[in-house]
């Protein structure tokens, strides 16, 4: 009985570690890929209204841009070089506009 429990527990642990990791691992990488593009769309969607955002909102967007840039810099895969080049420039444009709007408001 004791051996059986130990065997069952070890088997369950093995199954969890092997399959669980595969499923969660794959899911999270796919999810992460979508996630950064969604974050990009979300963070840059406000550029048209940058001048009416509050300094706190602008700082928050700048912070989100910085985190996104770090994520993009870590991209891997076949198209990573192109994606890095394209999205780094795009996100930097958003970030710099928010920074510009923030400095404008601070000068005011």
């Amino acid at each position: 009985m004791k051996n059986f429990s130990r065997f069952t527990l070890l088997s369950l642990l093995f199954l969890y570690l092997f399959f669980g990791n595969c499923i969660v691992g794959n899911f999270s990488s796919v999810y992460a890929q979508d996630d950064w593009k969604q974050e990009y769309s979300s963070v840059c969607a406000k550029t048209q209204n940058a001048m009416i955002l509050t300094p706190e909102e602008l700082k928050s967007y700048i912070d989100r841009c910085d985190k996104l840039l770090a994520l993009i810099n870590e991209l891997e895969g076949e198209q990573a070089a192109t994606e890095k080049k394209v999205y780094t420039k795009r996100v930097k444009m958003c970030r710099e506009l928010y920074q510009f709007a923030l400095e404008y408001k601070e000068h005011k």
Binding site: A45, N49, F100, E103, Y104
Partner: protein, 268 residues
Amino acid sequence: MAPIQKLLSAFIIALTVPVSASAADYSHYLRHIPPAENFGQVVLDNYSHKAGVLPVTFDHWLHRAKFTCRLCHIDIGFAMKAEMTEISAADNMSGYYCGACHDGKRVFDGRNIFGSCAENYTEDEGKRCARCHSSAEAEERKYDYKSFSEKLPKLPGNLIDWEKAESEGKVKLTDFLEGVSYKREPLKAQDDFTIKIRSWDVIFSHRKHTVWNGCELCHPMIFPSTKRGTTKYSMFQIMMKGEYCGVCHTSVAFSVWLCAKCHITLVE
């Protein structure tokens, strides 16, 4: 502004503003404007020659008639200076830059947009390369300025009047590309303002500029100052170095040599 630049600016103005000519008479300035078919032409050769093909000759007027500046320079990500984007065939094949539209699948105005680059192609398909990798006069290009711009309103120098063309409904510009553009909130344009320059004031319209460009195309890259009036720039920088207003107005937007388009007091 450096004294030498001040001097050169004054010299340019003295050369370009004839005392006897009325301000809106552009005949004196036209010699400075390149032929309309070459205005805004960009030659891209980061990798072409090395790959054994001709450089890409890009005509702004052809694309400008269909898309907003923002779509290409923000959403797709083309840099504002020639060759700064460093587009490679691999980028295009991955669906970026030229390949964002020129993927052989996307349909525009009921027509398939031809694919840009390919790793393997037949001899016949290879002819397609010459639609971009060729001189502006090449037969494969399919478009020529004269017939393309025939029905569009013109400015002096035979340049297309884009503003009028749009207001008359002769061009309808696409501003959103599915799978490329991100959804933006509606634009709240900033106020127009006057730039005092001796007696030749410029009225700058934020509305006219943002409708095609958005905000981040100009700020802070082209106009970095956050306090109005603190950045001093000269006509030398604009006209000769292609800086500030000259980034667009020496390439695709109406020419800087059409002085009275901006310096409204010249007209009055």
